[in-house]
């Protein structure tokens, strides 16, 4: 990964995308909506630390907000 603010919009998971989605749904299985929301918040925080680059995090935040408009 490069330093700085390159956010990836192209696919980086390849064939593992379906696997990831499956595990994500599995992690939510059996949870109430509130428990699921809490899980999502924890996930975002952990993933942010994994990304570990404030420029990327800022562009990710902007992209997510804008995609929902």
């Amino acid at each position: 990964m490069t330093n700085g603010s390159t956010m990836h919009l192209d696919d980086r998971l390849g064939a593992d995308g379906d696997d990831f989605y499956h595990h994500l749904m599995e992690a939510h299985e059996g949870l109430s909506l509130e428990q699921s929301q809490n899980l999502n918040a924890r996930l975002v925080l952990i993933m942010a630390n994994q990304i570990g680059d404030i420029d990327i995090l800022k562009s990710v935040l902007t992209a997510a907000v804008e995609a929902g408009r």
């Binding site: 990836h8 919009l9 192209d10 696919d11 980086r12 998971l13 390849g14 995308g17 379906d18 990831f20 989605y21 499956h22 994500l24 749904m25 939510h28 299985e29 949870l31 909506l33 699921s36 929301q37 992209a63 995609a67 929902g68």
Partner: protein, 541 residues
């Protein structure tokens, strides 16, 4: 009107009932659907006679399996019906995915250049069965097709199976060394044997309809595949539109778990739904059905001398076209093995590798089809939120398009790592043992030809470029591909596709089902080739 004309096949009184002698058959096949017929033809190409019994006397009613993948077409081509299917079938490339009232993205299956067969064709199952029956009849001495012959019992012994069969003229029994049960998803053979069929039944119901519509609903003249999540004409559910030959369109509508199947099937309820989808174009209904589906498989496909293939062994959801395509790969894998056993060239142990390799293929299909089904039918509010947001991101972010799952279309199954293949270090410039052989254009004594036309049906040593050959003779067909070759037995790689796909100066041992059994770099020694051949024939302990 181009409606398919169902011509019943003639019933002939079996010799056993007509008072003839009762002979023992080498192979009996239960079910004259695409899988059973493909098995009979494949075995006939190996000179193995079969008797095929089916309780019915007409091809599939309704289109049922419609989407045939490249790998399946290559197998059908080896069996002698591929070109006919290609000619009649609808080749589609562009898929469009809609969410609510707008298109999220589209994709082009971009057929890679240099293959005889396209990625997919759509063709109604009744045509496929008709072509296969006609092809089977080209082997009158080897294939004995018996319609209106219903198997009602089986008795398994160590050295064969006895079937009890009912016909319009009365019952008889038939003994075969091996029986292949290709009697479909509801397999009566499987039920009678009391075999567990473990898996998952989805409660979601779907309406499936074939619609005869002279005017295309698509905006271009090329046929496409359209898939909707939550369309305005069918709130909260998914919908699929596909073109088949004769201006027949396949429509799939998700109905939810609580729909009343009998009500939904009524024309008065079906028509408005379709009108909402295709607008005011005139159409007539050809076939309607409401279904639920199960993803399940047998724990084992081989039970002594009874072998299961196709839907009788495993069933998947229709999303991804993995039912019919998976079944054809079963018989492709099975028939050469069974032929070797029957000719005394291999022991029953080789059947174990059919079981092993096709359970693996089946698991791959089950996994993909279950995941597609899960994406289409969110089980909780949070699952629905994730799906919805994935679809929204997919509009602008390419990565999210990869997560949208409306069916991962059937790809050839790789048998890498299974017993028959000689392991090799992964080679980015070549193909790994277990993979199915990709096609490539070649010249055969100056004439345009395809590589796959020269592989299959027997073991072949394929060499590409100047490979040093075995120092002592090995009993195997040798096919050489070079950039200059024009002698008999040598194909010319005039467009470099073979070298690009297989690597240059490489040799492969190719199985009769066009899968790679072993790879050799630069030179092939007699010892290494013999060892790989022994292993690929299941003769290694």
């Amino acid at each position: 009107m181009a409606h398919y004309k169902y011509e019943p096949f003639d019933y002939v009184t079996p010799p056993e009932v007509a008072g003839g002698e009762t002979r023992q058959y080498q192979v009996a096949i239960i079910g004259a659907g695409p899988i059973g017929l493909a098995a009979a033809i494949d075995l006939a190409l190996h000179d193995v006679p079969t008797v095929v019994v089916d309780d019915n006397n007409v091809v599939s009613v309704g289109s049922r399996a419609i989407c045939w993948s490249k790998r399946t077409l290559e197998i059908f081509d080896r069996l002698g019906v591929g070109e006919r299917m290609l000619e009649k079938g609808v080749t589609w490339k562009v898929g469009r995915l809609f969410h609510r009232d707008h298109e999220v993205y589209n994709f082009d299956l971009l057929p890679e250049d240099g293959h005889k067969m396209p990625a997919f064709i759509n063709l109604q199952q009744y045509y496929v069965e008709q072509y296969l029956v006609e092809r089977a009849r080209e082997f009158p001495d080897l294939i004995d097709l018996r319609f209106k012959n219903k198997v009602i019992a089986q008795d398994l012994a160590d050295d064969g199976v006895t079937l009890q069969i009912e016909t319009p003229d009365g019952p008889y029994s038939l003994r075969a060394d091996y029986v292949i049960a290709c009697d479909g998803a509801g397999s009566p053979t499987r039920h009678r044997m009391g075999l567990r069929f473990d898996g998952h039944t989805f409660h979601e119901q779907f309406l499936i309809a074939d619609v005869d519509m002279p005017e295309s609903p698509f905006k271009t003249e090329h046929p496409e595949r359209w898939f909707w999540f939550d369309p305005p004409f069918h709130n909260g559910q998914s919908a699929l539109l596909h073109k088949q030959p004769d201006n027949i369109y396949r429509i799939d509508l998700q109905l939810g778990p609580d729909a009343d199947a009998e009500e939904e099937k009524k024309e008065v309820n079906v028509l408005p739904r379709i009108r909402a989808m295709v607008g005011d174009k005139p159409f007539t209904l050809d076939w309607v059905s409401v279904y639920k589906f199960t993803c399940a498989r047998l724990e084992r496909f081989v039970h002594g001398r009874m072998i299961f293939a196709g839907d009788s062994a495993h069933v998947v959801s229709p999303f991804g076209a993995r039912g019919g395509n998976g079944g054809i790969q079963d018989t492709d894998n099975l028939c050469w093995k069974l032929a070797m056993i029957i000719k005394g060239d291999a022991s029953d142990a080789l059947l174990e590798t059919y079981d092993q390799e096709r359970r693996h293929g089946s698991d791959e299909n089950l996994l993909n089809s279950s995941r597609a089904t899960n994406f289409m039918t969110p089980k909780s509010q949070m699952e629905a939120i994730f799906r919805n947001e994935t679809l929204i991101l997919a509009e602008t972010m390419p990565f999210a398009r990869k997560l949208v799952n409306s069916g991962r279309l059937s790809e050839p199954c790789s048998l890498t790592g299974h017993d028959l293949q000689t392991p090799a270090e992964p080679d980015p410039a070549g193909l790994d043992p277990g993979m199915s052989c990709p096609d490539a254009p070649v010249l055969n004594q100056g004439k345009e030809s395809w590589l796959l036309d020269h592989l299959g049906g027997r073991f072949v040593l394929l060499t590409i470029g100047d490979v040093a050959l075995p120092d002592s003779p090995v009993e195997i067909d040798h096919l050489s591909v070079t950039t200059r070759g024009s002698d008999a037995g040598t194909l010319e790689d005039h467009r470099q596709f073979v070298a690009d796909r297989y690597g240059d100066v490489t040799a492969y041992l190719i199985r009769p089902d066009q899968h790679i059994a072993a790879r050799f770099e630069g030179a092939v020694s007699a010892a290494a080739l013999n060892e790989a051949l022994k292993r690929a024939r299941g003769q290694q302990s």
